[in-house]
Every structure is written in structure tokens, then in C-alpha cells.
Amino acid sequence: MEMLSGADMVVRALQEEGVEYIFGYPGGSVLHIYDALFKQDKVSHILVRHEQAATHAADGYARATGKPGVVMVTSGPGATNAITGLATAFMDSIPMIVLSGQVRSDWIGDDAFQETDMIGVSRPVVKHSFMVRDPKDIPEIFKKAFYIATTGRPGPVLIDIPKDHTAPNKTFPYEYPKKVKLRSYAPVTRGHSGQIRKAVEELLKAKRPVIYSGGGVVQGEASEALTKLARKLNFPVTNTLMGLGAYPGTDRQFLGMLGMHGTYEANMAMHSADVILAAGARLDDRVTNNTKKFCPGAKLIHIDIDPASISKNVAAHIPIVGPVQQVLDEMLSMLDEQDNEPDHKALERWWQEIDGWREFHGLRYETNESGPMKPQQVVEALYKATEGKAYVTSDVGQHQMFAAQFYKFDSPRQWINSGGLGTMGFGLPAAMGVQFAFPDAVVACVTGEGSIQMNIQELSTCLQYGLPVKIININNQALGMVRQWQDMQYGGRHSQSYMESLPDFVKLAESYGHVGIKVEKFEDLEGAMNEAFALKDRLVFMDIYVDPTEHVYPMHIADGAMRDMWLSKTERT
């Protein structure tokens, strides 16, 4: 058998798993592995400027491709810097592998230099973790880690490797396992046919149905099945923040996003529904508002790969545990085999009602000819300049909600944001990951002047690797989302929600070797966008000044039902 050092085994295992990129930052405990990486050229290492960015870049890569993102960090501070990225990936069920260095095994527990109990610190934010106790186990651990990260409900897996186990002078027999042996882990591969049949019967009887789909449909490659099912039944579809793009955003049957900042028509339709088909969505609090008042007349059919997500927040009438794609496909074939038709008459009435809601509100906002630009206008201009085809990553805040509302995503994996954890600082590194995955694609990062400063140092990484990301900084000179809550719930007392002393972002971008464009007037917006996107091989930082007083609407009224919304600063349902 071939004899390899622990470090070489790590690198070989990555190669066997088909890893193209590893995002990382070196340090003492991983130097043996860095040396092994240096001697090969199959896996490219991407040097970020902060470990948090490594995790988000790997995450962006994973969200765009469906393949696991891979990260390497050193022990201690390197490892703890990766925690936010692990938590971000964990909340959104993103497949990721993080390799963290650890101090020598005989020093563990002695408070050695740069020692952190990474297994302990990361425990609540990983799907699973491994500590390498014997270098011989490295191949098996890697095989298991990749398998666990990418199957069932995906998630991040951590591998903690003590430095001595990667020493170059000690070699061990190496063989990469072909199969995984895990008696305690067997994700469901099929939904229960009886349950699926019951669900189909319910769908056919429905008079006011809504399909409510989430990130699971994107992750589970079930967009096509979902779209077919919705079209076949002529049912309205709404997506969660995580599910946007799973159903074409420009389609007539699409109601827009639902939830806290969902559209009027989506939230009204949910509240009035008699049957809700929740697919790969977890009924979280940003969607449901008060669960006791949630969709009072609806039977809930809930498809999820994770049994623990079912009936966690809202009890399901027909729970179906299984891969969402397989379950939807089976629903489709059941519909076909019996030539079943939904209740067309009732659906016609239902659509009339929905169209009435659409007309009443839609997504409107007020513009002011002489006043400042509106953030919504920026997203609309971005949509136009990119013909709706860009990968859009985002940070967290008002700009994120405007992007979700106003950019119509037609394909899954096109919209990349931190939904579950809401991590400011996610957008730029995630965009880097997407750009690495698709070098020729148009990648835009919609951000705010608050969020962008949380990982601004990555402008340097972008220069090093020539990543032509377009940064759309919707600059409202405020932590806008915080400020909105303070306007609405704290009598307008703007405690610590200013962004004062902002840098000159144009100069900043230039000093990092990029192009900066400042836009202050609406009439300049379109031209500036076109100019930026014409620079195909340059990173362009667009610093766009918008109305600091704008709010995101609709907005759920706290503790109310789905239909209880603020529609503007003065109108509510």
C-alpha cells in the first residue's frame, strides 16, 4: 500500500473528492498541510484576508454550485474566526468542510499557544465534527465528512487536525475508501408513498391552494419538479427569502416572497389559503409571524428531508419526510397516471381574488423627482443592466430585502444570501466564491455601507485573483434596517444606527486597485450601471447614495397573522 504523511493524505483526500478550491489562511498548526498543498496543483488554495471571509467564500461557492465549499484555517484565532461562517452555513443547510489546525496532540488541554477547543466551540453550529486522533484515520474521516456534509439535510462539517498528525516525516498506509460505513447515519431517500398520495388528494380538492417553497427546493435541485407541479395544477407559488429563484420570478403564477417583508399578495394568499404545500421550507419566524394566528383555515402539507423541521413551529396535517425532488416527482406521476384535474372553477375564483390583491398593492414605493434616489430604484436599475441574469449576493439589512423584492430571480442558485443567521459581511466574500465557481458569470454584490465594512479587506483578495465582482453599495448612511425598527418601535430614537465617518468608497476601491463610481442622482444611475457592467474584467465599487429615510414595506405587524402588515409609513391592513 502507498505510504503517505498525514499532510499528504489530507491533500490527496481533497483531490479524491474533486475539490477545486480551498479557501484559507495559514498559521503554525497547518503549515505541514500548506507545504503539501504547495507541491501539487490539483487543488487551488485561495488566500483570503480574514478567515471569516474564507468560510463565506466557500459558502458562496457551495450555494452557486451545489458542491461543498472547503476551508482551511489554523488553530486558535484562525479557527474561532471561522465560527460565524460555520454558523451561517449551518443555519442555511449549506454543505461545507472546514479543516482547522490544532496544537500537537500531546499538548491538547495544556492551554498551549493558539489552542482552542474547536470541537467544543463549534459544536452547536456544525452538522458534525471529527477530531483526528490517529493519522491513519484521515482517509476515512474525510470520506465520512464529505458524505455527511452533502447528504440528507446538508450542513457544515469540521475536521480538527492536531499538528503532529500531519508531520511530513511520519508516513502511514493510505487508501481512500470507496464507500462510507456509517451505521448511525442514513438519510431518508424516499418519501412515504401513502402520505404522498394523501397529499395529492388534498391538492386536487383544494379551492384556495398556495405552494410555499424554501431553500430546500434550491438545495435539493427540485426547482424543475416544483415548476412543473405548479404549472400543471395552476397553483400560485410563493418563495421564502432562501427559496427565491426556485420558481421563476417573472412567471404569472409567482406571488413574490412571503413573510416579514413579503408581498401583500403572497401574505394575503397564505392567510386565506385552504391548503398549503410547504416544500423544503421550515416555517420559521420570519415567515409565519405569530404561529397561533398562522393561516387559520389551511391544511398544511409539509415536505422536508429533516424530520425535525416538520411540526417544529407549525403542526403539519400531512407530514412527508423525504428528498423534496423525489417527493414532488412522485406527486407529478400520481397526477399523470390518473389524469387528475384540480378544481378549475374554484381556482379561477382564487386567481381573481389574488389578482385583486396584486392590483391593490403590488410592490409600490414613492419616488420624489427632486429628492434623493430610492434604494428600490437601484435594484431595478441593476436588474435592467444585468437583464435579470446576474448572480446576486447580498449582505444583511434593508438593501437585502429590496434586492429580494425587486430583482426577479428566474433560476435557482442565482440569489445568494444569509437568510437564517443574517450575517452582515457575507456578501462580498460570497460573491468571490461565486466568481471562482463561474469565472465568466456576472456577479453582483448588493450591500450597504454598514455591511460592506465588515469584510471590506477582501477587496485585496479580489485584486489578487482578478475577480470582477460588481459591488452595489446602497449607501443610505445608516444601519438602515436598525433605523427602520427604531422609527417604528422606539419613537424614532436612532440609538447607534448612524454610519458616521464613512470612508470615500471610490478612493478606497481605487487604493485597492479597483474602479470606484459614485452615484448621487437618479438620472446618472442607469449610465453608471451600464458603465460598471461594461468593465467585464474589473471589480467596480458602485457607491450609490439613496434616501436614508426609506423603509422596507410591506412589513409584518409583530405578533399578528400573515395578513397583518404595514404597507407604508401610514397605511396598514
Binding site: 470541537i119 467544543g120 459544536r123 452547536p124 452538522k127 458534525h128 465534527s129 477530531m131 486522533r133 455527511i148 456509517l182 451505521r183 448511525s184 447515519y185 429533516d306 424530520p307 425535525a308 411540526s311 417544529k312
Partner: protein
């Protein structure tokens, strides 16, 4: 409602801490916990008692099942089962009380496993209720020290929890 959950899990470092952490992370409480290897040394058997309504217990079992190291799990309280707890206890035993304590130990079918001039060390096995009844019968003022193992349990009849 009180539940006894019995878990077969990989006998690996870190597995137990994941189970325990899950409880604090998700705000569930553990009343008792016992764990030891089984006849198959690669597996541990863990028994815990917890309380919660049906919804909570369902969540607990689902989340436990999600842990990679958990191989199998059963809620023993769902069916007929046997539960036992072992208790070791030091009891003041002087003068007239010596005979009284001895009588109570006999009634509860306990054993005196160590004796000094002033103290009996008693071993008692049974359900949690029985152990508590014994402590009450002895009277708290007499009790010097109590060590309880936590509940162990097994299903009645032919049902077995194994691979």
C-alpha cells in the same frame, strides 16, 4: 410528562458531549443520565429521564436521532418497561434508631453494605418512586449522604434495542 429515553450510540469520545449539549442548546432538561458500554464495546447505552409535553418529547427524540453518533433510540415510556435505579446512602444509626433503620431497610428490601458504630451504609434498588419513599420513611434528618445512579431501563417482553 416524565419520559425515559434509551439510546444506543457509538462509544466514541465526544458522542456523550453532543447529546448533553443538545439539551442545553435547545432548552430541554435532563433529570437523570446514565451511560456505559454495552456487550458490544463499540456501542454505549445511554438512558436519560426528561420531562415535557408530547410536542417537546417529539422534538427531543427527532433531534437526538439527527446526531450522527446516535444509532438507535427508544422512548421506553411508550410501552411496558422495567426501570431501576440504585441508591447508596449513609444513615445515622445510633441507639434505638439502629433497630428502626434496620427494620425499614428490610421492609424496602435494601441491604446494609457497611456498618460503623454510628452509621449504616445502605444499598437500595428500585424505581425512582420507591427510592423516594424510602428516603421519606427514614426521615431526612437521619440521612447523611445519598448517591443515586440515575434511571436505567429496558423494555418488557421480547422487544430489544440492538443493531
Amino acid at each position: 410528562m416524565r419520559r425515559i429515553i434509551s439510546i444506543l450510540m457509538e462509544n466514541e469520545p465526544g458522542a456523550l458531549s453532543r447529546v448533553v449539549a443538545l439539551f442545553s442548546q435547545r432548552g430541554y432538561n435532563i433529570e437523570t443520565l446514565t451511560v456505559a458500554p454495552t456487550e458490544d464495546p463499540t456501542l454505549s447505552r445511554l438512558t436519560m429521564t426528561t420531562t415535557g409535553d408530547e410536542y417537546k418529547i417529539e422534538q427531543i427524540t427527532k433531534h437526538l436521532n439527527k446526531l450522527i453518533e446516535v444509532v438507535k433510540l427508544v422512548d421506553l415510556t411508550e410501552g411496558a418497561h422495567i426501570e431501576r435505579e440504585i441508591m447508596l446512602m449513609k444513615i445515622k444509626a445510633t441507639g434505638a434508631q439502629r433497630a428502626e433503620v434496620k427494620r425499614t431497610v428490610d421492609i424496602f428490601r435494601g441491604q446494609i453494605v457497611d456498618v460503623t458504630a454510628t452509621v449504616y451504609t445502605v444499598q437500595l434498588t428500585g424505581t425512582t418512586d420507591k427510592l423516594e419513599a424510602f428516603i421519606n420513611a427514614i426521615g431526612e434528618t437521619q440521612v447523611l449522604e445519598v448517591v443515586r445512579s440515575g434511571v436505567s431501563g429496558i423494555a418488557r417482553g421480547e422487544k430489544v434495542l440492538s443493531l
